[in-house]
């Protein structure tokens, strides 16, 4: 027995709970890590990207009456909507990193969008100027420049509204700032907000067009209804894809709580209950 006692570390019992880290909770995954995993799934989703591009293009068709706004008076909204429709999707955080030729492609898409009405309406020299401006702006939309360009487009739209109605512009501006702030702050943890925000943006853009471009819109009602229907269906696709990402990025997690009592020689964890999925 004496021989056995010599082998004993007298402080073993006092030390072991601390050696095992008993009482300390070890987080196995965080909300932030889960958001990153979700973002990775979203960034690999081609269908999601295609749906967002379709929404942007359809929205452009609706709010500009298929691009037929008069470039002599409505050059500002025409330019702003074209820039937003082309540059906005690529600014979204799950969009893959832009390649070397991305801005050229965007510029060409912008040219095609704004020059499209020339196919069925008489050619106007001012439309050419708008097309050129859109192309130059989109070429400048690289890195942080993209955000500056988008901010300029939003300000241009707001100024256009300001000249028509000061009260409406102030109200829309304040509501827009609050909404964007809330969505930007929380979307990582509630990704379905993106679908709701997309619907909200579509409706706000439509309201803008109803208020300011009603005369132009009335000529292409069936086309606009078709375009908004396609945009809405694409929003449903976006919501579905985000839901899919939410589910598939859910970590095969471990959830546990600390315990103060750890049986001898258990050096695996310091938790009372461990639950894996």
């Amino acid at each position: 027995m004496l021989d056995l006692l010599r082998r004993v570390d007298p402080g073993f019992y006092a030390k072991e709970p601390y050696l095992l880290g008993a009482g300390a909770q070890v987080p196995r995954y965080s909300e932030e890590a889960q958001a990153e995993a979700r973002l990775a799934v979203l960034s690999e989703d081609r269908l999601l990207r295609a749906a967002i591009v379709v929404i942007a293009l359809c929205a452009y068709l609706v709010v500009t009456a298929a691009g037929t706004l008069d470039p002599r008076t409505e050059y500002l909204p025409l330019w702003a909507f074209a820039v937003v429709a082309v540059a906005m999707p690529r600014a979204l955080p799950w969009w893959p990193k832009a390649g070397r030729n991305a801005t050229w492609v965007e510029a060409l898409v912008g040219i095609a969008l704004t020059a499209m009405p020339a196919l069925w309406t008489p050619l106007q020299p001012l439309l050419g100027a708008v097309v050129a401006t859109v192309a130059i702006t989109l070429l400048a939309a690289r890195g942080r420049g993209r955000w500056i360009v988008l901010a300029l487009a939003a300000i241009a739209l707001w100024l256009h509204l300001l000249f028509v109605s000061v009260y409406a512009a102030v109200a829309v501006g304040a509501a827009g700032v609050i909404a964007v702030r809330e969505v930007v702050r929380t979307w990582r943890f509630c990704p379905q907000l993106i679908a709701w925000a997309t619907l909200g943006i579509l409706l706000a853009a439509s309201a803008y067009a109803f208020a300011l471009e009603a005369a132009a819109l009335v000529h292409f009602l069936p086309l606009e209804i078709a375009a908004i229907a396609v945009a809405y269906v694409s929003v449903c696709v976006v919501a579905g894809r985000i839901r899919r990402a939410e589910l598939s990025a859910r970590p095969e997690g471990l959830l546990s709580l600390p315990q103060s009592i750890v049986p001898l020689l258990d050096r695996s964890h310091d938790h009372a209950i461990i639950c894996f999925r």
């Binding site: 019992y13 829309v172 925000a197 309201a207 908004i228 449903c236 959830l255 020689l265 209950i273 639950c275």
Partner: protein, 378 residues
């Protein structure tokens, strides 16, 4: 039921309101305005209704859970759901369960997803659970949450049934030299007698093992067996005799950290369980004694039978610290007065008490336990 995304709903509501007001000023745009406003409302309405009705149609079919497990071992929990009387399948059902041990609770365990649950069919969510704390582990209520894309609400079906799992002490693997505890005190190598003496009683029959005396073969039971090579032998034991008394100290020491004593008790319980098992496999009959509360003493006769060892573990699963010292002292004296059995006292105190030193017992302090313990058998 909870609102799915309050911020998102607010953004959408504002959008619908602004679009409706802007469109109302231009009657020529009426078809476009109606479509722009009506589509989101219809979509949200449909998704919300479907979410609600789907959650109402979910039924719990079965929960697969063991009634008892060992601490530190892992078991599989399976929760099966079905969908009754609903026109559409349930999509993206997230299930989770509440887990509660003695002093810890996980209100919402990790969610397991059922991607699609078709009408009339079942689907199962599974978890792997490791309980490390001895005692009772409660599983339930189970929850299944549904939120279809576009739904304004998230509906959770709660199934209130609860299931209890007894978490038995962890099994320690002891060093082979644990026999030294009985050196000079009792015959530690097991029973040598192969035939019953006059005083022994018949306790049951078991399968023949090499080394059993042919005189003990139970002829009737062996002939009844479907397998002609299967032979049963009768078992006898002396009801008046125990080979070994193991006394577990459950008294909270007067000074020191309560958590440390609780920790020591956990180890002592696992050690006692392992000690009883190892001596039982050597065909010793053990008397296990401990004080469960001031007036409740547990005294178990542990024969080398699985049923006795299981009963011992069930008792050990419920043992807790008591704040009275007198009963433990009395138990020790009683055990020493019993004739013929060696007494092992598994103490929670760091030092052997002076009054115990005079008694013919082996006292194992917390410092001794690691010496005899090799590893935990999960």
């Amino acid at each position: 039921m909870a609102l799915a995304q309050p911020v998102g709903l607010a953004v959408l509501g504002a959008g619908i309101g602004v679009a409706a007001i802007a469109g109302a000023l231009h009657p020529t745009l009426q078809p476009l305005v109606v479509f722009v406003v009506a589509f989101p409302i219809l979509w949200i309405g449909l998704a919300t209704t479907l979410t609600y009705t789907t959650a109402r149609a979910l039924r719990m079919v079965n929960v697969d859970v063991p009634s008892r497990i060992r601490a530190l071992s892992t078991f599989r929990l399976a929760f099966s759901l079905t969908l009754d009387n609903h026109p559409f399948p349930a999509i993206g059902v997230l299930t989770n369960v509440r887990l509660a041990a003695d002093d810890v609770t996980i209100d919402e365990g990790p969610s397991a997803e059922i991607a699609i649950l078709e009408v009339g069919r079942g689907a199962t969510s599974e978890w792997e659970i490791t309980a490390k704390e001895r005692g009772l582990l409660l599983l339930g209520p189970f929850r299944a949450a549904i939120e279809l894309p576009g739904s304004a609400i998230r509906v959770t079906a709660i199934f209130e049934r609860k299931f209890g799992v007894t978490v038995l002490p962890a099994v320690y693997h002891l060093q082979p030299f644990v026999d030294t505890l009985l050196a000079g005190r009792h015959l530690a190598t097991g029973r040598f007698q192969k035939v019953p003496s006059a005083i022994e009683e018949y306790i049951g029959a078991r399968e023949y093992r090499p080394g059993d005396s042919p005189k003990l073969i139970h002829r009737v039971l062996s002939l009844r067996s479907s397998d002609p090579n299967q032979v049963y032998v009768r078992e006898f034991e002396d009801p008046s005799r125990e080979d070994l008394s193991i006394v577990l100290d459950t008294a909270e020491p007067i000074d020191g950290d309560v958590n440390l004593h609780a920790y020591r008790l956990e180890k002592a319980i696992c050690f006692v369980s392992a000690l009883c098992r190892i001596f039982a496999t050597r065909r010793l009959t053990i008397r296990f004694v401990c004080q469960r509360s001031k007036r409740d003493m547990v005294a178990l006769r542990v024969r080398p039978l699985d049923i006795d060892l299981d009963r011992l573990d069930m008792e050990l699963a419920r043992v807790a610290l008591i704040d009275h010292h007198a009963p433990v002292k009395r138990i020790l004296l009683d055990e020493v007065r019993r004739q013929g059995a060696a007494v092992i006292f598994v103490s929670l105190s760091s030092r052997e008490r002076i009054e115990n030193e005079r008694l013919p017992i082996v006292t194992l302090t917390p410092d001794h336990v690691p010496v005899f313990t090799r590893e935990v058998v999960a």
